[in-house]
Symmetry: C2
Subunit: 501 residues, 2 copies
């Protein structure tokens, strides 16, 4: 029972935040502020004496004084000699929230975003979003982690950081830019120097950056159809209009594209190994694309996604090697050949562009985290990247062969799977035994429910309804022994799926 | 002397790339391709026999065959039984570059960028761009590295990576989001949970992300004038129109701002400690800003840059603590309190926004590198961040006091430096002894030439010509013993600068 009050102030009940991580005086201050804002204490009203408040709250008077000082500093309270502490009279009226309206009130989420925000949020097509280190068959875009020299990388990270922080470089760590240039010259036939290379945080960020610097909002960019949805998304984020162009066996049909979109300012292509179909772009299309870019001053981003993996035939020289006019920006990533967690990609710029992009990055700040760049540079210099590529090439070739064999043995007539000369996934097309009326999105969903990750090919098309159906099967991260059982399971699921459609 | 040719083909001189990192067959292939593209070998022309080429080039026939196969695969050559290897006849004519035009021809750089690209490239105002770990007085934005536990961080990094890669999380590592929420609740009075926190790669990226998701292109955002130029830059990158609003002693003049820009959809403010002037935003302005946001459905980004550092007075409760309507997005950074090289910042979202932003990030991919997030979470959980904050608060308070004392002792009448209650820099205003006619940009340039980094206050103003002059002096990273000598040097330089203006 509280003692009778002698100061005439009304007793004040404060609901303190039970979260004991905040100091008591802060919780008292918060509760008092909330009471003032909710008009539970009137403007200009006199507060109980600090001694009384301390008694009411069961705490030391010093704690109350600290809370009152805080609120006086914030302008909620005024302290006057002789008349005690009062609630300030000058708070604007209109922000007083009715009591009981919590700040964490859920607002219906879709309405809070801008139109652009909603467009960026709704994935334009369904794409597998499972955790990328999950080894489950047959998720896309995951490299094998078998035998990855984590201890080596961890040692290099520690060595980089033990005595200080690496300085920040807007274009990327110079050691990594040097190592990347040497790697690309040696293994990909991309003759370049460290000065031509910038380090980025992924292909999407690479594209956003180029689209921002080279195109004005509302301009058009050609993208492959089917194609990786992240490319159109990155362009849209930069205010660019992605225009899907059908891809045939010779890659992007350049003539058709230019007739439809004569004012395109950029083309994003995967000439070495079309993603996701696997075709190589024909020389004729390559030269036509280059002629267009040179003639109109447009730009080409050559996404050499997975160009490192080629199991049969010979790799074609990259577009960049044919580029006389300095229109080709070559894009690659260490995330796919080493580890997604690195989130380190690179762009090789034509020399005429390097200076301008350099100035833009100096103004905008680094395009990638510098935290692991030194360690990665040492990893490459010490030969671990080269060893890793040799090892994974063998591994992936074996896994691809195992997948083709398993599909023929266990899903004959159901899934038609052809070997490809490169890449990290295969395309399975419905065979004669495919259940009538089953579309690939429903098929992928049925597989997912059975624990088999796969992506419907139609989801990579601008117009999924008009697309030839198929399932994309990533095999790079799937141990060989797990491949046949996973195909068997898929075949069971798909045969059973007919009943449900 | 080569042997007389028996095959009738003309001798072919190939300029091989001297870079021995490429295998010989690749260099031969490159040279041959270049010769074809440069019309040094006509379309349809028959090539010398591989045996002859091998003799000419002084290499094994197998090497030449490998090169020819490559070019045949690319479509440059056709091999016909009986008639040998010929240059293909079907290459489109129009892309053949005249011989001798190198692909690396420098193109005048400014012309290659889009209008947007040029706007993003030209830094809107001069800002110090020296390497951020340079301890030189008085560069801005650098934390002290004295006694930073690098060995601890390096050990945590190694521990994180030794046995595998951390999985990728679009919103940031859950451990870091938890640690950040606990840290903010305990030290900044920001009551939040891990679910409200997302990890980003810096304040600019935080702003770009919010502007993209919450505003449509062309909409207006209020920014403080003076203010950090990177804020306007990040908004411009997202297609948003930054509208500078004058800042007075009570912070951003909200009434004036809203009269001028009634349709603004976002305000970016530094209420705790205005950057760069150091004022705290008055409660009246805070409430008016919140009322505006609630009334119009606009958003507020509260940039609590350096809010951790307060040496006198009491920190004001953040805007977020007053936010009843869920309109305030709280932004902070570990780069400033720990290390710029981390490039890890965070946003605390109002609960009504968290779900939508989560979906956007899942669609767009991670906003930050996951490489060091686990290590940082452990660094925080093990108490190193708290220790570091306590240590640097003491250090910075001492350094600020030393700077004020040095300015009074060695630059009296020239530089008027007032102590501030927080922050990592001070503002020096010209005193009566300041050379007549010397503007702050010229003064900063003269200091820079003498090895003293400083930024002209006018460079942080939307209209530098109309701004009150001043010099911004970052002291956090300057050892106490280096402060007085640096001020002495500055005073000499500035007094001498009068003769040159």
């Amino acid at each position: 029972m509280p003692k009778p009050r002698t100061d005439g102030a009304l007793p004040l009940v404060l609901a303190l935040d039970p979260d004991a991580r905040l100091p008591l005086h802060a919780r008292i201050g918060d509760a008092l502020r909330a009471a003032i804002l909710a008009r539970r204490i009137a403007r200009g009203a006199r507060l109980p004496a600090s001694r009384v408040l301390a008694e009411d709250l069961g705490c030391a008077r010093g704690t109350v004084l600290a809370a009152l000082e805080q609120l006086a500093a914030e302008g909620y309270l005024t302290a006057q000699a002789g008349s005690g502490t009062r609630v300030a009279a000058t708070l604007p009226d209109d922000v007083f929230a009715p009591p009981g309206l919590p700040s964490a009130d859920p607002i219906p989420a879709p309405s809070v975003l801008s139109r652009r925000g909603m467009a960026l949020t709704a994935p334009p097509r369904r794409v597998d979003r499972a955790a990328p280190t999950d080894p489950d068959a047959f998720a896309l875009g995951r490299p094998a982690l078998d035998g990855f020299p984590f201890a080596v990388f961890a040692r290099l990270l520690q060595a980089e950081w033990r005595h200080g922080a690496p300085p920040s470089h807007p274009l990327g760590d110079p050691r990594l830019r040097r190592a990347t240039a040497a790697y690309l010259s040696a293994t990909r036939g991309v003759a370049c120097e460290a000065d031509d290379v910038i380090v980025t945080a992924g292909i999407r960020q690479s594209l956003r950056l180029m689209a921002q610097l080279l195109l004005d909002p509302g301009e058009a960019a050609l993208v492959e159809d089917p194609g990786f949805p992240g490319i159109a998304l990155a362009l849209a984020e930069a205010g660019i209009r992605p225009v899907p162009v059908p891809v045939g066996p010779g890659g992007l049909a350049v003539g058709r594209a230019l007739a439809r979109v004569p004012d395109a300012r950029l083309a994003v292509v995967t000439p070495a190994h079309h993603y996701p179909l696997g075709h190589a772009m024909s020389l004729e299309n390559r030269l036509a694309l280059l002629a267009w870019a040179e003639g109109t001053g447009a730009w080409i981003v050559e996404d050499d996604y997975g160009g490192e993996y080629r199991y049969a035939g010979r790799p074609l020289a990259p577009l960049r090697a044919l580029d006389r006019g300095g229109r080709v920006i070559y894009a690659g990533s260490f995330s796919k050949v080493l580890l997604p967690a690195l989130q380190l990609s690179y762009l090789v710029l034509p020399r005429g562009l390097a200076g301008a992009v350099r100035r833009a990055l100096v103004a905008a700040g680094p395009a990638s985290s510098g935290l692991g760049q030194g360690a990665l540079a040492r990893f490459i210099d010490e030969g671990h990247l080269g060893r890793r590529l040799r090892r994974t090439r063998t591994l992936y070739a074996e896994r691809q062969a195992a997948l083709v064999a398993a599909a023929r043995a266990h899903a004959a007539g159901l899934l038609e799977v052809e070997a490809q000369e490169g890449g990290m996934h295969l395309v399975a097309r419905p065979g004669p035994a495919w259940p009538a009326g089953l579309d690939d999105v429903a098929a992928a969903r049925a597989c997912a429910e059975a624990g088999i990750a796969t992506v419907a090919l139609s989801a990579y098309h601008a117009d999924p309804g008009a697309a030839a159906p198929g399932l994309l099967l990533g095999y790079a991260a799937v141990p060989e022994r797990a491949i046949a059982p996973a195909v068997l399971r898929m075949a069971e699921v798909l045969r059973a799926a007919s009943a449900r459609t």
